[in-house]
């Protein structure tokens, strides 16, 4: 009897040998796998939350630093222009300006500018200005419209004569 044959004999005896485990073992294994799966999901969720929280904290810290940074140049004062005045609405000169336009900085700047202007204003010459040319010479006859068909309208009928009014444009040159 060779030992190899002995090995083969033993091997063959156990070939296909199976023992059914207890049924509870399957549920135990599956339950453990299920718990591990949930634990993994919780870990992933916690990781995501941690990343988001960290990102939010970093964002908040960065924003706070930019606001409180003493080295950063002071931003120029913002002067908001009041809404355009509706021409249909009457303007009350006694009404104070909007608060945005009367900030101390703006008011100071305006007052300084006005004071400088008044101080540096040239003296007015007491001499009277030269007489202006007659008005007629300053008016040039305006050419009729080149359309050839000027707009005209019959206004009155005085004693059988007709009075036509023709529109024209007159250009006045200020010499």
């Amino acid at each position: 009897m060779k030992l190899d044959a002995f090995d083969q004999y033993i091997h063959d005896q156990y070939q296909g040998y199976e023992v059914t485990p207890p049924a509870a073992l399957e549920d135990a294994v599956m339950g453990k796998l299920r718990r591990m799966k949930w634990a993994r999901r919780v870990r992933v969720g916690a990781g995501v939350l941690a990343v988001l929280a960290g990102g939010g904290f970093w964002w908040g810290a960065t924003t706070a630093e930019s606001v409180a940074d003493p080295v950063a140049p002071a931003a120029a004062p913002v002067v908001r222009v009041a809404d355009p005045v509706d021409p249909a609405q009457p303007v009350d000169p006694a009404q104070p300006m909007a608060a945005e336009q009367t900030t101390p900085e703006v008011r100071t700047a305006v007052e300084e500018a006005v004071a400088a202007t008044l101080t540096e204003a040239p003296e007015v010459s007491p001499e009277r200005p030269a007489a202006m040319a007659p008005l007629d010479s300053r008016i040039e006859p305006a050419p009729l419209a080149e359309s050839g068909q000027p707009e005209k309208s019959l206004q009155k009928d005085r004693g059988g004569s007709e009075l036509w009014i023709i529109s024209a444009e007159v250009e006045v040159k200020d010499r």
């Binding site: 002995f6 033993i10 091997h11 199976e18 059914t20 485990p21 294994v29 599956m30 453990k32 591990m36």
Partner: protein, 192 residues
């Protein structure tokens, strides 16, 4: 079973995706075979159940590492054996070099194996009497078909140690079986 059986591959892929139904199917398909393996490398049924449970968890956790070019059954078997060995590693480490003097099979004993006719229960009884170190190497090599290199890696021993342990285990087992044949055990079985 073909390694590339499409149904099995689909089942494995589904398990990799964490599908519970597929995991149950794989469990039911292989648990009986693996429980027999676990029983072989543990000292009690309770330990075998613990080892098998741990092994199944490892199997499903590390299923992504399984290469479809290898035997799935062999891969499962190896995980169960490794789990059992880890379970008893301390005990096994102290057992590999023990009981050498107890091996005393003789050529006369081998004459008893001319007509090998033992039931698996008798073999279980004889193998269970092997010292733990011998028995583990013998079962890994002879029953589960691992090579000496693999056994050396699993047990963290030298290859030559694995070979010498196997040789001694054979002699020891033959001695035990010879004594079983000489006693009334074997005739009793035939009468029964």
């Amino acid at each position: 079973m073909s390694l590339m059986e499409p149904e099995l591959l689909e089942l494995i892929d589904a398990c990799k995706r964490g599908k519970s139904r597929a995991q149950r199917e794989v469990y039911r398909r292989y648990s009986s075979m693996l429980f027999a393996v676990s029983l072989r490398y543990t000292n009690s049924r309770e330990d075998a159940e613990d080892v098998l449970q741990d092994a199944w968890v490892k199997i499903f956790r590390h299923l992504n590492t399984f290469s479809r070019h290898h035997s799935f059954e062999g891969w499962l078997r190896r995980i169960v054996v490794n789990t059992a060995i880890t379970h008893y590693r301390r005990q096994l480490k102290h057992a590999y070099h023990a009981d050498i003097d107890e091996v005393h099979a003789t050529p006369a004993d081998l004459e008893a194996f001319k007509d090998l006719d033992y039931t698996r229960e008798e073999l279980d009884h004889a193998i269970a009497q092997l010292p733990t170190g011998y028995g583990t190497v013998f079962k890994l090599y002879v029953i589960d078909g691992f090579r000496h290199k693999e056994i050396a890696e699993m047990l963290e021993i030298d290859i030559n140690t694995s070979k010498s342990q196997l040789s001694r285990a054979r002699k020891y087992l033959q001695d035990v079986l010879a004594h079983m044949s000489l006693t009334a055990l074997k005739p009793d079985r035939h009468e029964a």
